[in-house]
């Protein structure tokens, strides 16, 4: 039997507001344990939360960017459970009236466009972190308590690990575009719970699902879906049943392990938080948020195709990350050949980032360096190959491309006299390729160009060399 995998995601995104959600502590990653903590975020007796307005704004913007309806009236609820990193023993979240509802995200997986529905987005506070010290016990760092989060909950619309990965990439890129989160995976600002079930292909009934916790990267999300779907299919094939449960993803082992069953599921005893007033947004406020949104990836892509005449593929690659698109657009201000710049950004910049293990968001390099290298090529100061090498070095050292060319003496040799002399020698020393060329094999010409480049260490102007070789052989 053929099976279909059904995936739903709950994505937690940390919002990059200056202060925490209910107090004035700095919302900063890191710091010595318990240095970004106060009586309010550590839940001391008698303190009260006050909702940070920026959190509401960021959440609403996230909802708008993901095509959600923004609620005029939503409220904060308490979700009760005991854990040492949750100082009040309840998390302030939103239960039945979240701030955003009914959105969607368009993904393109293997060239196929698909809408993934978003059920809801709600606001909540993050918990602290436990530092386990073996037999000595555990310590709690409350720095992360009260960091604002949004939880994006999808409908079970995803059908493969590939689609899930594309969805997560799109969410990340969108959040970066609207600047509500820095989306740093390694700092935990984007995390997800993954719900997986399988069913016979063609069936419209959902199978029994398992929820996987501790999925801390997109690659883990991908691997956990592949693993879990396979585990469930094997169970069914063996005549067993999938049991609804919460499972923990172990990234090192690449496996999921049962945590708790449906019967042991927490009763969170949600109820409206009496310390907070409802979140009321007027239509004018919502329109204001909408108007303040920057150009979103989808619109940017369309603009690149229509106005810059880039291909669908190129426009897609360039807009996949805000940071790459920003780099590209900043470059365009000083350079008017979008296609050429696009080739360098996609071909060279992205390769260097990958080779160097630098994430686009961490890139420090000024696009002016690439423009300078590009202009050196366009002006014939260096050839394309040298130009790209110079850019790479410039990217790594932050030295200006002209300085590199100067220091290393990489200027193209366009002096025909000097080149003619060298060509004469090479032609004289290689009668066979000369004969081949004369016999009509035009490809033989590349041999001479190659030899010239070798002799000039790549500095010869290839166009001039070509002309001179033909002149020399043809007489």
């Amino acid at each position: 039997m053929k099976y279909e995998t059904v995936v739903g995601l709950e994505v937690h995104v940390e919002l990059s507001t200056n202060t925490k959600i209910f107090c004035s502590c700095a919302n900063e990653f890191g710091g010595e344990p318990n240095t970004h903590a106060c009586p309010i975020c550590t839940g001391m007796p008698g303190v009260l939360p006050v909702l940070n307005e920026n959190v509401v704004e960021y959440a609403a913007k996230a909802g708008l960017a993901l095509n959600c309806e923004i609620a005029n009236f939503s409220k904060m609820d308490r979700k009760g459970y005991y854990y040492p990193d949750l100082p009040k023993a309840y998390q302030i979240s939103q239960f039945d009236l979240p701030i955003c509802n009914n959105g969607y995200v368009t993904i393109y997986t293997n060239g196929v466009e698909k809408k993934i529905r978003i059920l809801r987005i709600h606001i909540e506070e993050d918990a602290g972190k436990l530092l386990h010290e073996g037999t000595l016990g555990s310590k709690v760092d409350y720095n992360r308590c009260g960091v604002p989060l949004i939880e994006i909950v999808t409908e079970p619309d995803l059908r493969s690990a590939d689609e899930a990965k594309d969805f997560l990439d799109t969410i990340k890129s969108t959040m970066e575009y609207i600047d509500v989160s820095d989306c740093k995976m390694q700092e935990g600002s984007l995390r997800c719970d993954v719900n997986v079930s399988v069913r016979p292909k063609g069936s419209d009934k959902l199978g029994t699902r398992c929820e996987m916790k501790n999925v801390n990267s997109f690659s883990s999300a991908y691997k956990s879906i592949v693993y879990e779907a396979k585990r469930q299919i094997e169970l069914i094939e063996d005549g067993e049943q999938v049991i609804q449960q919460t499972r923990r993803w172990d990234d090192e082992k690449g496996k999921t392990f049962a945590m708790r069953g449906k019967e042991e599921a927490h009763d969170y005893r949600y109820f409206p938080d009496p310390d907070l007033v409802p979140v009321v947004l007027t239509d004018d406020q919502i329109i204001g948020y909408r108007n303040s949104l920057p150009e979103l990836p989808k619109d940017k892509k369309t603009r690149y195709i229509n106005e810059l005449e880039l291909s669908d593929y190129d426009a897609g690659v360039l807009t996949s990350s805000k940071y790459i698109a920003d780099y590209f657009e900043q470059g365009l201000k000083a350079y008017d050949n979008p296609k050429n710049l696009a080739n360098w950004v996609m071909g060279d910049l992205l390769r260097i980032l990958k080779d160097e293990g630098i994430l686009p968001e961490d890139m420090q390099s000024d696009p002016a360096l690439m423009i300078e290298a590009l202009k050196l090529v366009d002006d014939g100061v260096v050839n394309v190959t040298v130009g790209k090498n110079v850019f790479e070095e410039s990217f790594k050292t932050n030295k200006s491309p002209s300085t590199i060319v100067e220091e290393k003496g990489l200027k193209q040799i366009s002096d025909t006299g000097e080149l003619e002399k060298m060509i004469k020698e090479i032609v004289a020393a290689n009668p066979k390729p000369v004969a081949d060329y004369k016999a009509g094999n035009k490809k033989a010409l590349t041999f001479f160009v190659g030899q010239m480049m070798k002799a000039t260490k790549g500095k010869a102007n290839p166009k001039i060399v070509n002309e001179l070789v033909i002149k020399e052989i043809d007489g």
């Binding site: 009586p39 550590t42 839940g43 001391m44 007796p45 008698g46 303190v47 009260l48 939360p49 006050v50 909702l51 308490r78 009760g80 005991y82 040492p84 100082p87 009040k88 023993a89 309840y90 709690v140 009763d267 005893r269 949600y270 109820f271 009496p274 310390d275 907070l276 007033v277």
Partner: protein, 483 residues
């Protein structure tokens, strides 16, 4: 000079005239506390050295006529309001060693107005109770009869004012916890409109019902203290955006033509004959002052107590979940793992009544029961509010007894339901978030004080205080407790 017998107003006048200095006054109160405290037992932690120090600083200011509207006046605070550097226990074992690193907003406001903190008052553990017998530390005795309870949960605050231990005290009122002990101890207890006084730093029992208010000897004193503590606080999202008021203005205004409704539901079975007679007298006094007093009805009255215990317990179970032995307060000595740490700490740290409410609250919020209990109670809450709205379309004020009977004897009410019934007249007001005051209006045959309750529309504190003050003038002085 027996300064402890003075009202707050008289004390302020004497300070102003230089007839007594803040230092003398503070020392007098400390002496008074030392002399009566063995009988009354109203206080937990005292802060005498610090109080004397502050009083000395105030001496010069008061001389120059500076220092705020309560400059140099010693006061007592219920032990559920946070005081920086001074233990705040809620009379619970679980917070027995808790010293807050911050002040409640009311504490900052009183300090700003020059008041001097003397001590933290005993209370029912986490403000759950009506007799102060639920304190983990001590039983407080009613200054009018030491064998009787002072009421609760602000029993320590009410008893301390009745015993002359301070010029005024602050209490908190979730279902009657200021007004009921005020009635039992023969003092004035005011519960302001929900949101008039900041709850920041008040250790929460039931957040949507809790409100801080003054316990004083006179209505005018109550107005003075309210002027100091009321006002919007950006640290409390539920505090009302309002300008600060001088609540002492207009106290003497004539009340001729004022319309007072008396809900008949307050006079059904359970009301003692003594209390009824005193209320009838108070009504006659009001009529003689030109007020129009009429019978009215509060049809949802019978559902208020049930709704109250569901809502307040639900909120309490959540508010008290933070006391888990992890971060501060009591932690059990022995435990096997984290779950056991929670269990042992909470088993040992909380008293019987608190545990009862936690269990009740967890039950009504459980999935499958939420709609039948919590949600239904919230609907009842809306109906009760509507009932009050209807009454206030016709009347300026509601008058009722504060409690069905006078203070009972310690240990007399072992059945929790019997205890809960003592708040039956006060809880509907918290549910509706209204302001209300309890004013002594007579003595019972056993020579115990009886309280009358005046209830107003939201933010009508001035109307209540005006009507209360005028009544008080007509009533004449009220006997002090003989200690």
């Amino acid at each position: 000079m027996e300064t402890y017998k003075l009202t707050l107003k008289q004390t302020l006048e004497k300070l102003k005239k230089g007839e007594v200095s803040p230092s003398e006054l503070t020392k007098n109160y400390i002496d008074r506390i030392k002399s009566v405290e063995p009988d009354v037992d109203a206080l937990n932690e005292t802060e005498f050295d610090e109080a004397i120090k502050k009083a000395k600083q105030m001496d010069k200011k008061v001389e120059k006529g500076e220092g705020g509207i309560l400059a140099g006046v010693p006061y007592i605070l219920k032990d559920n309001m946070c005081t920086k550097g001074l233990k705040t226990t809620c009379s619970s074992k679980i917070l027995n060693n808790f010293v807050p690193p911050y002040n409640a907003t009311v504490v900052d406001k009183l300090e700003f107005q020059g008041a001097i903190l003397l001590a933290k008052a005993n209370m029912d553990e986490f403000a759950m109770g009506s007799s102060t017998e639920n304190s983990a530390f001590k039983k407080t005795n009613n200054p009018f009869d030491l064998k009787r309870v002072p009421g609760g949960s602000s029993g320590g605050s009410a008893a301390s004012v009745a015993a002359g231990e301070a010029a005024f005290a602050l209490g908190s009122d979730t279902g009657g916890s200021i007004r009921q002990p005020a009635a039992y101890c023969g003092v004035i207890g005011l519960k302001p409109t929900y949101g008039v006084v900041s709850r920041y730093g008040l250790v929460a029992f039931a957040s949507s019902l809790d409100q801080i208010g003054p316990l004083t000897k006179t209505v005018e004193d109550s107005a003075i203290v309210l002027s100091a503590i009321a006002g919007h606080d950006k640290k409390d999202s539920t505090s009302i955006e309002m300008k600060t008021h001088n609540y002492t203005e207009g106290l003497d205004k004539e009340i001729k033509g004022i319309r007072i409704g008396v809900p008949k539901e307050y006079f059904k079975e359970g009301l003692s004959a003594d209390v009824k007679a005193s209320i009838d007298n108070a009504i006659k006094t009001y009529e003689s002052l030109g007020a129009v007093v009429e019978e009215t009805t509060l049809p949802t009255f019978d559902y208020a107590l049930s709704a109250y215990y569901i809502i307040s317990s639900a909120e309490a179970t959540s508010n008290l979940s933070r006391y888990d032995g992890v971060k501060y307060g009591y932690r059990a000595d022995e435990f096997s793992d984290i779950v056991d740490l929670y269990k042992q700490t909470r088993t040992e740290g909380f008293g019987k009544e608190v545990k009862r409410r936690i269990m009740l609250g967890n039950y009504v919020l459980s999935s499958g029961y939420y709609d039948a209990y919590y949600l239904k109670a919230q609907k009842v809450r809306t109906l009760i509010k509507q009932d009050f709205d209807n009454i206030f379309e016709k009347y300026d004020l509601i008058l009722s007894p504060t409690t069905p009977a006078v203070a009972f004897k310690a240990g007399e009410k072992e059945d929790p339901m019997a205890m809960y019934m003592t708040d039956i007249y006060t809880v509907p007001i918290n549910i509706a978030g209204l302001p209300a005051i309890s004013i002594p209006c007579g003595m019972s045959s056993e020579n115990m004080p009886i309280g009358m309750q005046l209830i107003g529309k939201p933010l009508s504190e001035k109307t209540i205080l005006n009507a209360g003050h005028i009544y008080e003038q007509a009533r004449g002085s009220f006997p002090l407790a003989k200690l």
